[in-house]
């Protein structure tokens, strides 16, 4: 290579490059004997938590490489269920775990290797935030969070030493409203179908989540009493869809939205004054200087959560690295990053060191901000004196009525949903 006259052929260059790539990704552990720095973990998941900043910080703090792939939730489910060789770590939602776990593509985690296991929010262990709480309906993380022994494909009913997923991101969702255009307090999910908002309401056109929002509304109206909103019978699905089809025909809805941007535009333009919404969308509307509230409602929240699962194929040094990654994940830095976006992390207390007192007070404790609240990307989200919609962690996560879920009658529900859209 040091010769002045360069005369490699293209073929020899390619060969060299190929050998080099192979050595850096595959051969390393064999040659340098179990050096964790040469491990590459392949993680895939939905866009919400596949944050590049996390991969960069992992390299910095732990030394190994984390490769991330972002997919939509249907593709995530498919990949976790059918291609176990294609990943080391699956970042999936709990309802996806319910579908995927029985395929045996994931392995349980030994909780004794998870240092902060005792500090993990009880939402994910016992399911009870306080000893008096009731486990919410739907695919509550606690119901699919444990198995009785390694290799088991059935979920355990209580906390055991084997955990399926380590929780990463979660939040409590509710309706978003335009307080300036409504001009009166909104307290119930039933308001979504209030004729007062005829032509000014919207719901999301993603069947698995939309049906839950519908159920919250129907129950709040006193029309239907569900045994489990997260696992409806076909009659319950029929009744729910019938109520909303009637409302749709009467012109209650301005539009349905499918993407995050659509929900922001509908709200910001004033086309819609009340609708299903996600937390960052509220932030986006507020960032345009338009009042928008993530309205806490008396019936409670519809909650969702994701977690990291380990591929069944993971072993040896890569498995050790994965445990190290998980321990790092819940040790605080990621939590602080997520909490500043309005999400929650599995071990909230550890995030405190990575946030200032003002941020911690605003996001976690529900206190009035003492100075500007800024997002990780530098946007101003709230000023001094503002408080978070819904209040503290305990207030919000303590009022979860149901969790995102997958129903036994899922295919039936999807067909009914298509009928609703076509009606």
């Amino acid at each position: 290579m040091s010769k002045p006259r360069i005369s490699y052929t293209r073929r020899s260059l390619l060969k060299g490059a190929a050998t080099f790539t192979a050595a850096s990704t595959l051969g390393a552990p064999m040659i340098w004997a179990q050096d964790i720095k040469d491990v590459t973990l392949r993680q895939f998941g939905t866009g919400v938590s596949n944050l590049n900043d996390v991969a960069v910080k992992v390299k910095e703090d732990l030394g190994f490489t984390l490769e991330m792939t972002a997919l939509d939730s249907d593709a995530v489910t498919q990949r976790a269920a059918t291609q176990p060789e294609s990943f080391d770590i699956a970042d999936i939602e709990y309802w996806i775990c319910k579908k995927v776990w029985p395929t045996g593509n994931l392995q349980a985690m030994d909780t004794s290797k998870i240092k902060l296991f005792d500090k993990i929010s009880p939402v994910f262990t016992t399911g009870k935030l306080t000893p008096e709480s009731v486990v919410a309906q739907g695919t509550a993380p606690s119901t699919v969070g444990f198995i009785s022994e390694p290799g088991s494909t059935e979920f355990a009913k209580e906390v055991t030493g084997w955990m399926t997923l380590i929780p990463t991101i979660y939040n409590a969702d509710t309706l978003g409203i335009r307080p300036d255009l409504i001009g009166r307090p909104i307290e119930s999910w039933a308001e979504l179908l209030n004729p007062e908002f005829k032509g000014k309401a919207s719901i999301l056109d993603i069947s698995s989540i939309g049906i839950m929002d519908m159920a919250m509304v129907c129950e709040a109206m006193g029309e239907i009493k569900y045994a489990d909103k997260g696992n409806m019978t076909t009659e319950e699905i029929d009744k729910t869809i019938a109520i909303f089809t009637e409302a749709k025909k009467a012109g209650q809805f301005r539009a349905f939205w499918k993407s995050f941007d659509e929900s922001v535009n509908l709200m910001a333009s004033g086309e819609v004054v009340i609708q299903s919404m996600w937390s960052p969308a509220i932030t986006a509307v507020k960032a345009q200087g338009i009042p928008c509230v993530y309205q806490p409602l008396k019936e409670g929240y519809r909650s969702w959560g994701g977690g990291l699962g380990l591929s069944a194929k993971l072993e040896g040094i890569a498995l050790d690295a994965a445990y190290e990654y998980i321990n790092w994940y819940i040790s605080g830095w990621v939590g602080g990053y997520l909490m500043r976006q309005g999400y929650y992390s599995a071990v909230p207390e550890t995030s405190k060191e990575f946030m200032d007192a003002n941020e911690w007070g605003y996001w976690y404790e529900g206190k009035a901000a003492t100075a500007d609240i800024v997002s990780p990307t530098g946007q101003k989200l709230a000023g001094a004196g503002d408080t978070r919609d819904g209040g503290s962690y305990m207030d919000r996560m303590g009022a979860v009525a149901c969790w995102n879920s997958v129903m036994d009658e899922n295919q039936y529900m999807v067909r009914k949903w298509n009928e609703f859209i076509a009606a």
């Binding site: 539009a255 535009n265 999807v414 076509a422």
Partner: protein
């Protein structure tokens, strides 16, 4: 040497045949095959079953959605034909110089400098409750309440369809009109025909091939669309394209394939019918 001529003919046709076979015929065959497969929640498996078709034809939604698709296609066709024919007629018979004809025809293509989606989405702020249209009407005192039906309605869907597709009607009609021998029109006038008679007895019959080609363009574009319907109706109405895209989103590929096959057959039947009305090959 007739034999070598045949060989050369075959050789010349071979590249195109190969391209069409690989990129058109083969994918369609695949779609037909998959439409008989089965699906679970996260995988598809080879089978030969009629479940997908049985469900498709057994569901009232299918009929309703096909009805909506036809309705959109017919109304859009009628409007684009009316506008397209008028514009082409103006360009062909009223604009005198060729330079001016070319200039004006090129102006018609200006909207195509941006993407389809952008042309579509730009209607949203215009037609919205607080949009320019409503604001103007309000300030002129024509209405005292914003018109709700301007956006997220059949009206906005059709408006966008007409906006996007009229050009596909203008070009083929203009093309055939420009080939009409002007002496035919003069002869008709000398023979004492009125303007209307010239239009119906001379120009329209001679423009038929252009109208047919434009019709085929517009019908196939509208019947295969799903984006326009989704955005402009605010996801509130569905056509066949949306049915297919929903299935794909939920990983139900066999069901999506079955719907596609039915749609493809429907469109092919319509096109075959249209081609029987006019022998395009002869007329061109």
């Amino acid at each position: 040497m007739p034999r070598s001529n045949t060989t050369i003919g075959w050789l010349m046709a071979a590249p195109l045949t190969a391209v069409l076979a690989a990129f058109l015929v083969l994918p369609i065959i695949m779609i037909v095959i998959v439409s008989f497969w089965g699906a679970t929640e996260f995988s598809i498996y080879p089978a030969f079953e009629f479940d997908n078709y049985r469900f498709l034809f057994g569901s009232a939604v299918t009929w309703q959605v096909f009805g909506t698709t036809f309705r959109y296609a017919l109304i859009t066709w009628a409007l684009t034909l009316g506008i397209g024919f008028t514009v082409a007629y103006f360009l062909a018979f009223h604009v005198r110089t060729l330079t001016m004809q070319i200039t004006l025809a090129l102006i018609c293509t200006v909207p195509f400098w941006t993407s389809n989606i952008i042309r579509m989405i730009s209607w949203v702020p215009f037609l919205g409750r607080n949009g320019i249209a409503n604001q103007s009407l309000l300030s002129m005192g024509i209405i005292d309440q914003p018109l709700e039906w301007l956006l997220f309605s059949d009206f906005s869907v059709l408006l966008t369809f007409v906006h996007i597709n009229t050009f596909f009607m203008i070009v083929p009609i203009l093309n055939t009109m420009l080939r009409i021998d002007k002496s035919l029109v003069e002869a008709a006038r000398d023979g004492g025909a009125s303007g209307l008679q010239i239009l119906t007895n001379v120009i329209i019959p001679l423009t038929k091939p252009g109208i047919m080609i434009g019709t085929i363009f517009v019908l196939t574009l509208v019947m295969g669309d799903f984006v326009t319907v989704r955005f402009m109706s605010g996801s509130q109405s569905a056509n066949v394209g949306r049915l297919i895209s929903n299935d794909v989103g939920l990983l139900q590929y066999p069901s999506a394939a079955a719907t596609s096959v039915v749609l493809l057959c429907t469109v092919l039947i319509i096109v075959a019918g249209l081609l029987r009305l006019v022998d395009i090959r002869k007329e061109l």
